[in-house]
Structure formats: C-alpha cells, structure tokens
C-alpha cells in the first residue's frame, strides 16, 4: 500500500517535470506590468525568444518603436494601452508567425515621409492581428510585402474632422500582400477605411467601414478577392474599386454616401466579376461604372438613390438580372447611345406596363433611361428643371416613342413585383426556364 502511494507521488512528480519541460519547449511567458520583471513592452519583446508569449497586463505604456523580430505572441490582458505619444510607429513586425492581440494602441502622429502606423508588418508570413483597438493614428494597420495575414475584430478609429485628406492615413492599408483575411473590423475616421493594392486571394468580410474622409473601401490591381457582408456607410466618396478582375462582392450594404461627389460603389475597369445580393441605399449615385465589362449584377436592391446606376458607354457585356429598383430619382443614366449591356427580369418601381398572361413578367419592355437623365449628363445646369411638369412630359413622350434615349438599353421582361431575394426561389426557377439565353451565350 505504502509502495503504491510512493509510486503515485513519483509519477506525479515526473509528469509535472515533463509538463514543465514541454512548456519550456513551446515557449516561456514574459509578463509585463508595472511591478513585474519587465515594465516595458519593448524590453520584454526584445528579450523574448522564438515561441514565447509576452503577456502585457492592463495599464498605460508610453512606448513606441517596438520591433518584433522573433515568432512570438504578444497578448494584452485587461486592455493594456500602448501610447506612442506622437513619437512614431508603435509595433513593427519583422518576423513570421506573430500574433498581436488585445491591445489599445494610440496617438501616432502624421508622418509624411515614414507613413507611421500603429502596427506595421513588413515582408512576413502568417501574422495574426486580433481584437485590438487603434485610436488616433496616422495609419492603423499597415501590411506590406507579406503573406497569410489575419486581421480580425479590430477597431480602428481616427479623427478626421477638419483635417485634409493628405494629412490622414488609411485605417487598414495592405500593399503587395496575398492571402489576407480582413474580418469583423470596424474602421472609421481615416482617409480610406480599407485600402488594398496588389492584394490577391484575400477575403474582406463582415467589416463596418464608416465616416472615412475618402473611401470606405478602395482597391486596385487586387484580383480574385471576395468582399462579403460588409457595411460601407457615410464615407466621403463611398467605395471605389479599380483595375481588377475576378472580384466577388456579395451581401454588402452601401448606404448614405450622400454628397455632390459621392458614390455607393465606383467601378473602374473591373472585369469578370460578380456583384450579388448587395443593397445600395440613399446614395447620390448607387453604382458608377466605367470601362467595366462582363460583370454580373444579380439580386441587388437599389433603394432611394439619386441615380441607381450610372452606366457609361465604355461598359460592355454587363448583365443585370433580378435587381430591385425602388424610389430612385433616376434608375439608369448613361452618356451615349451605344449600349452593349443586358437587362432582364429586374423590378422597376417606375414601370407602368401590364401583365396580361399573369406570369409575373410585364408584357411591355421597360426603358430605364429617361430623356432628362441624358440631358443632365450633357447639360448639367438643366438640373434647374428637375421635377418640373415639362420634364415629366418630355420623359413620357420619349418613353412612348424613343428617339434620343438608347434603343438597346431596355429590359424586355421587367418584373411586375419586387423580387424577394430570399424567398422567391420557385419564382426564379420558373423565370430561368422561360428566360432567353443570357447575353454571353447568344
């Protein structure tokens, strides 16, 4: 009996020793707090070896220029604040496999030559930036020449009131980086909310980007990315995306981008992409598109915009199906007669045709471009006559006998009822069967 208990004690001791040594192999924990061994984050980070965890306890740390050169995890507990006090960049990641989690980083001054950020990742792989709050910085999170980065659950809040665009940086700035996941962040008060340049195979999901001075989302040369379930609200100029192919934009909300030069979504040279299930609400211009080809717009809602879509004649082979256009001042406007885009089975609130065979599809084609919208495009001061009786009369006459508005920009099969995107599966099936072949296959 005694022997047995002795055995147990030995076993336990052995296991404990083993456990401890194994922990040592994974990495030690370096604690940072006001009365710990390390009182500054910088000190702890410079002492940390590969695999260590630097655990920072709550408190305010006046520090900047923290350089992470080992694969470590920098974790904040009880919301520690690292305040740069306008003395430069706070954290620079110069190693692979780094995690930064749970900090509040604040006060990085505008620096035109260095582009100081709260967190900068330079030429590294597999970095996780999680649940941080970044306040009053020039750039928020700046990723460059890196790969496999996760930016999740961060809040980046700048102050842009009364400041010029050039003195502001971007909240999340990604340059030449692949496989980035930007998920569930809230960004506001910067120049651009999310800025991507030459970023491939990445996901931008469930972010809220609002009240930025310029764009809520801005990307260029970033092929093959998906943008889903984001909300872009009240940004200075909305969302602008350019020079990109194979983009997927789904379930996003573009709203309240209202101003003389605001767009819900500006598409410039975007090709071969899909734009599904988005909502465009109360924007001056819902979508402005130029030189964008082979785009597929489906199941989008355009509600109460000034112009729902401004479709420049440089756009060809774009398809618009099953979209709802309600309460827009102008549904579609264009700048010329040539039209090579395809509209079918959209719901137009202004449609006044009839449906004799009761199949839910109007029997008379609908021309969404009004004469007046073309006129405004050509002679801007004619907005003076907006909503005048004369203009209504002209529009109606033109609709009966089109001569100036583009002949080919027409929805031959407009829907009689608004599409309910979630519950109309049966109806859509029926439409698919009765529909003519889409543009591409003709």
């Amino acid at each position: 009996m005694k022997n047995l208990s002795k055995k147990i004690v030995v076993w336990t001791a052995c296991t404990l020793v083993l456990l401890l040594t194994s922990l040592q192999a994974v990495g030690g924990t370096l604690k940072v707090c006001t009365n710990c061994t390390y009182t500054s984050v910088k000190q702890a980070v410079s002492q940390a070896k590969a695999g260590d965890v630097v655990l920072v306890d709550g408190g305010v740390y006046l520090e900047s220029g923290i350089e992470i050169t080992q694969p470590i995890r920098l974790i904040g507990q009880n919301n520690p604040v690292i305040d740069s006090n306008n003395s430069g960049q706070i954290i620079t990641v110069l190693s692979d496999n780094v995690t930064i989690q749970g900090f509040t980083l604040q006060n990085v001054a505008t620096s035109y030559t260095r582009d100081d950020a709260a967190i900068r990742v330079r030429q590294q792989n597999n970095i996780q930036i999680l649940d941080n709050t970044i306040l009053k910085t020039y750039y928020g999170i700046y990723l460059q020449y890196s790969d496999g980065i996760v930016v999740k659950g961060n809040v980046v809040k700048g102050e842009n009131v009364g400041r010029t665009e050039s003195s502001l940086g971007n909240a999340i700035h990604v340059y030449y980086t692949d496989d980035v996941q930007i998920i569930g962040n809230e960004v506001q008060g910067h120049r651009d909310g999310i800025y991507l340049e030459t970023v491939k195979n990445s996901t931008v999901e469930r972010n809220l980007s609002h009240q930025n001075s310029r764009y809520g989302l801005h990307f260029m040369f970033s092929d093959g990315n998906a943008y889903t379930h984001n909300i872009f609200r009240k940004n200075g100029a909305g969302v602008a995306v350019m020079y990109t192919t194979n983009v997927r934009m789904e379930h996003n909300v573009f709203e309240d981008n209202w101003g003389a030069a605001s767009y819900g979504l500006l598409l410039k040279e975007i090709n071969n992409s899909v734009i599904y299930n988005n909502t465009f609400r109360r924007n001056t211009t819902g979508i402005h598109m130029e030189s964008s080809s082979r785009l597929d717009f489906r199941n989008n809602d355009f509600e109460r915009n000034g112009w729902a879509i401004k479709l420049m004649t440089t756009c060809i082979q774009d398809t618009f199906r099953l979209n709802n256009f309600t309460g827009n001042s102008f549904d579609i406007s264009t700048n010329g007669n040539a039209q090579h885009n395809y509209f079918e089975h959209n719901y137009w609130e202004k449609y006044s045709g009839y449906d004799l065979d009761k199949n839910g599809v109007g029997d008379v084609p609908y021309r969404p471009v009004s004469l007046y919208s073309m006129l405004i495009e050509r002679v801007p001061p004619s907005v003076m006559l907006m909503r005048s009786f004369m203009v209504d009369l002209l529009d109606n006459m033109e609709r009966v006998l089109p001569s100036i508005i583009p002949q080919n920009l027409v929805d031959e099969r407009p829907l009689m009822k608004k599409v309910n995107h979630d519950n109309n599966r049966e109806f859509v099936q029926v439409l698919r069967q009765t529909a003519s072949a889409p543009w591409r296959e003709r």
Binding site: A260, V379, L385, R387
Partner: protein, 255 residues
C-alpha cells in the same frame, strides 16, 4: 375698403367653388401623404401637384370672378369711391380667399404629416403663387373687356409659366451648353415664379446633392437666410408688378 373686401369674400364663399377647391386640395394632400412612404417623398409629389394646379385654378378663378363681378364694380364706380380702392379690394378678396383655401387644403396636412422648414417653404410658395397668379389673372382681365378673350389670355399665361417657359429654358440651356450657364440659369429661375418656388423647395429637400455644381451654387445662394430673403423678395416683386400695372390700367380705363 374693408367693407368692399367683406362683400367680395361673401360673394366668393357663397358660390361654393372655393369650398370645392379647398376640399380638392385637402383630399389631394392627404392622399399623397398616405400613398408615399416618407414625408419627404410626399412633399415632393405634393410640390409637383401644387405647382401645376394652384396657378391654373388661381388664374382661371381670378379671371372669371373679375368678369362676373363686373356689374358690381360698375355700381361701385358710380359711388364716391376711389377706383384703386375698388380694384385692390377685389384683388385682395380673391387672393385672400384662395390662399385661405390653400392654407386649409395643403397647410394643415403638411403640418400634420411633414412639419418643418421644407413644409413651411412649400406652403409659403403656394400662397405666393396664389397671389401672383390672381394678379396675373386681373392683369389679363383688365386688358380686354371680352370675357372669352380674357380667359384665353389667362390660360395662355398659365400655359406659359407652367410649360412653355421651361421648354424655352431647356432650349436655351441645350443650345448654349458649351458655355458656363450657372448664373444664367439662376437669372432664368427668377424670371418664373413657378420655377423659383420649385427650386426653393427642392433645395431644402435632400435632392440638392444630386444637382451637381449648379445645385451646389444654388444651395450656397438659397441656403443662406439672405438668399431665401432675396427669393421671397423676388416673389413679392412678382406680386406687386402685375397688381400695380393692372391697377393703373383699371384706373384709367373707360368702364
């Protein structure tokens, strides 16, 4: 003068057209506000209806009333009353009763469904337009003694302000599209009270952002208190000029 206005008002109320007009406006406004989703949208639809129907009814009613009360005026002229007094009483009687009808028919629904600055502008614009078009009606009536001719002129005037003028403006803008026309359009707006009223109400609605550079310019002008004051001053001019001209004609003419 008050006594004559009282008689004119009594006469107008008795023939019941004014009551029908009030009810028509009331039904229209309530209908519009109940149809449209938001109050803003309601105001916008109401604006279009007001700018079309109020001038028409004011001008037609004003002209017919003038001709119908011709004998009454002849009677008054034979009395020791100044002609300008007779004329002004007739004018104020008609204009006040039509504006009262407008205030009840449109003002009350606006107050109920869409209270605010924009609604106030809409109602003020409507009242001004009533005064202006009654003045124009009287101008048309004093020019000729032939009733058919007078109504014809009145209708032409309405047609001009509601439709032809905008057509001309459109033509001018289109022909001179290559030139900077922002200030020219501003001047053109001031030359038509209907357009002036519409632009003023539109700028107070959200749509101004859609109006681009011209809209921004308009907003900077009409947005200030000074600009609004100026716009209403122009409206007052639009009332005074036809009234004074027609009073002058009425004073000198051989009954």
């Amino acid at each position: 003068m008050n006594k004559i206005i009282k008689y004119v008002l009594y006469d107008i109320v008795r023939n019941k057209i004014i009551v029908a007009y009030t009810l028509f406006l009331l039904l229209l406004s309530i209908g519009v506000f109940n149809l449209g989703g938001s109050p803003d949208k309601g105001l916008l639809s109401l604006l279009n209806l007001v700018l079309l129907t109020v001038p028409l009814i004011s001008i037609v009613f004003g002209t017919t009333h003038f001709y119908n009360s011709y004998e009454f005026m002849e009677l008054l002229v034979s009395q020791p009353i100044r002609r300008s007094k007779i004329f002004m009483s007739e004018y104020l009687g008609v204009a006040l009763s039509l504006s009262a009808a407008f205030m009840i028919g449109v003002g009350i629904p606006v107050l109920l469904f869409a209270p605010g600055a924009t609604g106030l502008y809409l109602v003020l614009t409507g009242v001004f337009i009533t005064f202006i078009f009654v003045a124009l009606a009287f101008l048309a009536s004093v020019i000729t003694r032939d009733k058919a001719k007078g109504i014809g002129i009145a209708l032409l005037l309405w047609f001009y302000f509601a439709l032809i003028y905008d057509g001309i403006v459109l033509f001018i803008l289109y022909s001179f599209g290559d030139y900077p026309l922002e200030y020219a359009t501003l001047a053109l707006t001031a030359l038509n009270p209907v357009d002036l009223g519409r632009v003023m109400v539109l700028l107070n609605l959200d749509v101004s952002a859609m109006m681009g550079y011209t809209g921004a310019l308009y907003k900077s002008i009409f947005g200030s208190l000074w600009g609004i004051g100026l716009a209403f001053a122009v409206m007052v001019l639009w009332v005074l000029v036809p009234v004074l001209v027609s009073r002058r004609v009425f004073k000198r003419r051989d009954m």
